[in-house]
């Protein structure tokens, strides 16, 4: 009798070990099937991203889109005969929207990517080694977080001789890496306290192997989910700063610089086509990202995911 239960347990264990856990992609798909909002959002998001990059790629040349035409200023869609009319510089809004959205997406991908790379390196170091290293790093992160980020970015952008895209990405990254570091560090710390890492340490596995082959795969879910959500935050920051005139220069259109038109009451009241398309696009992109990111976040947490 006793032998029987033991062999059954062994069998269960064997089965559990022999079947691979479902991949992130499979779990995500399972989640999507039960969340209509996330499902639709994913397809809208893919469509928008593909359309924006393809559209911006196939536009004859950025120079054409950007060239000012003072005769065609502020023409409504009916007057100009094009889909979305022209803005206060006489540029056609529709093609401009593609280039602007591509720039905004590029910037937010870059900012999120770089700040996650920093976050992973610093956060894993801090969480894995703990002790003094952890204390020092977290003190620095705390101090850095106290800085009023947007004010500093405004001050730094005023200093810059030239407002280049790279510089803007650098400034945004300077104030987004702390949150990512905190996130990764908390997850790494949690993993380090688990038995599998302790067992591995006892066995004398090298630290590099523990970190890269054993711990990092367990952080992937959380990082992917938060990467997607952070994209929305980066787009929000870019839009806000450019809107106030402290983002990109005039020669690089972005969704934020297009929204600047809305700061003039005349445009806001009578010329919806100069600002509304950019605003709607920002909201659609952020809404979709949030729904998809939230579904991913549920996938990353075994307690919340759809069984």
């Amino acid at each position: 009798m006793e032998q029987n239960t033991i062999s059954l347990e062994n069998k269960g264990l064997e089965m559990a070990l022999s079947t691979k856990p479902p991949s992130l992609f499979v779990l995500f798909w399972r989640e999507l099937k039960h969340d209509a909002f996330a499902f639709i959002s994913l397809f809208v998001l893919i469509f928008v991203i593909v359309a924006v990059y393809a559209g911006a790629f196939f536009l004859t040349s950025t120079r054409d889109v950007m060239s000012n035409n003072l005769i065609n200023q502020n023409q409504s869609p009916q007057d100009s005969g094009s889909l979305l009319g022209t803005d206060s510089n006489g540029r056609y809004v529709a093609p401009l929207l593609f280039v602007a959205a591509r720039n905004s997406l590029n910037i937010s991908f870059a900012v999120t990517g770089i700040s996650f790379i920093i976050g992973l390196v610093v956060g894993v170091t801090s969480g894995f080694y703990g002790g003094k290293i952890d204390n020092t790093i977290m003190r620095i992160v705390d101090t850095w977080t106290m800085i009023p980020a947007l004010m500093f970015i405004i001050a730094m952008i005023s200093i810059a001789d030239q407002r280049t895209v790279g510089l803007f990405i650098l400034f945004l990254t300077m104030f987004t890496w702390m949150a990512r570091t905190r996130l990764v560090r908390a997850a790494a710390l949690q993993n380090c306290n688990m038995d599998y890492i302790n067992a591995s340490k006892t066995l004398g596995t090298r630290n590099s192997v523990i970190i890269f082959r054993e711990m990092l795969p367990n952080l992937v879910d959380i990082v992917v989910a938060n990467f997607v959500l952070s994209l929305a935050a980066s787009i929000g920051m870019e839009t806000g700063l450019s809107l106030l005139g402290f983002g990109l220069g005039m020669e690089v259109p972005s969704l934020g610089t297009m929204l600047q038109a809305a700061l003039q009451p005349v445009n806001l009241q009578f010329r919806w086509w100069t600002w509304a398309p950019a605003l709607i696009l920002v909201v659609i992109i952020m809404l979709c990202i949030n729904f998809v990111g939230n579904a991913l976040q549920r996938v990353a947490d075994p307690k919340q995911r759809y069984q």
Binding site: F37, D142, M146, M151, G236, M237, L244, A262, L279
Partner: protein, 323 residues
């Protein structure tokens, strides 16, 4: 506990010191100074140089930094170069506007978030819950400034005309109205920016409350109370709600920091005369004494907010003690 609070407070000092150095170095490196663009171009260079010398602009940056910090320690915050007034006077005019906007916005935040969060948690899984979550997601998709534009478009005189646009109080009311009318008018002017600010901060609180209520509903002590036959109204009001509000109470410090930080930027969209518009104006006019003090003020406010959150947490949750 007082000791730990004091210790946390002392840790702030080196942190604020570091931030002040960085901000000062940034300010010194900005192209142009308080005199550029302000002077008659026909003035001889020697005169301008003399004025720079008199204002202390030619000293090395560390000398100027020491003068600045030394002044602040004895309560002298310097003089604004653009307004020709002491910095404290310039900021003093604006600080009440930002403060009242922030407080009003915080009030609206909790007024919206607490009922919605509790309802979503209480009726989790129902259509009401889904509607509230959808609201939160839509609000999350609106960066504060974009929301500001939408608000102006819909409710200012450009749209429905329910709320005025720009300024903090109407001049007519200020000169002729009774104190109560002035107060109402101020409230009226602050409503649009305050709502734009608070919608974003409601989201965190709604999600937090909802998760807490759902968590408590399934907890053992609630099951025990139910099996003892405590009426569900009492269970919800006394056992679930009170415990769920603990994290929300401790979140208020962070909410304060977040709201005031956001207020600075929403002001620019609504051309509202507060610290934010003053900051932008100071940066554009190279009025560094004012800009530096504003940055330090907000860094200090953020730090205080975080500290306040920790203190409240230890008061309302006996399990946690500040180390």
């Amino acid at each position: 506990m007082y000791k730990t609070i004091l210790r946390r407070f002392l840790v702030l000092i080196p942190q604020l010191f570091l931030i002040s150095v960085v901000m000062f170095v940034l300010a010194v490196n900005m192209p142009g100074d308080a005199l550029s663009g302000m002077l008659d171009p026909n003035l001889p260079l020697a005169t301008i140089e003399q004025m720079r010398e008199d204002m202390g602009l030619n000293l090395p940056w560390y000398q100027r930094y020491i003068n600045w910090v030394g002044g602040m320690l004895v309560g002298d915050f310097g003089r604004s170069t653009a307004h020709m007034q002491p910095v404290l006077d310039v900021i003093g005019e604006r600080i009440w506007n930002t403060f009242s906007l922030g407080v009003y916005s915080l009030f609206l935040t909790y007024l919206i978030a607490i009922p919605l969060g509790v309802l979503a948690g209480k009726h989790s899984g129902t259509a009401l819950d889904k509607a509230i979550i959808t609201y939160a997601f839509v609000a999350l998709a609106m960066p504060t400034l974009v929301l500001g534009i939408v608000m102006i478009f819909l409710f200012s005189p450009i749209g429905l005309g329910w709320f005025p646009l720009g300024g903090s109080v109407s001049a007519v009311v200020l000169s002729t109205g009774t104190p109560f009318e002035i107060f109402l008018n101020q409230l009226h002017h602050r409503t649009l920016p305050a709502i734009s600010l608070s919608l974003v901060s409601t989201i965190t609180i709604i999600f937090m409350l909802r998760a807490n209520v759902i968590d408590r509903k399934a907890s053992d002590y609630v099951t025990l109370a139910r099996s003892k036959g405590v009426p569900s109204r009492t269970i919800f009001g006394k056992h679930i709600l009170r415990n769920s509000l603990v994290p929300v109470a401790s979140h208020i410090g962070l909410a304060i920091a977040f709201t005031f930080g956001g207020a600075v930027f929403i002001e620019m969209i609504f051309s509202y005369p507060g610290m934010g518009t003053l900051f932008l104006d100071s940066i554009n006019r190279r009025d560094f004494p004012v800009a530096n003090v504003i940055v330090m003020f907000f860094a200090f406010l953020t730090a205080l907010g975080v500290l306040l959150s920790d203190i409240i947490l230890t008061i309302v949750d006996p399990r946690i003690r500040i180390r």
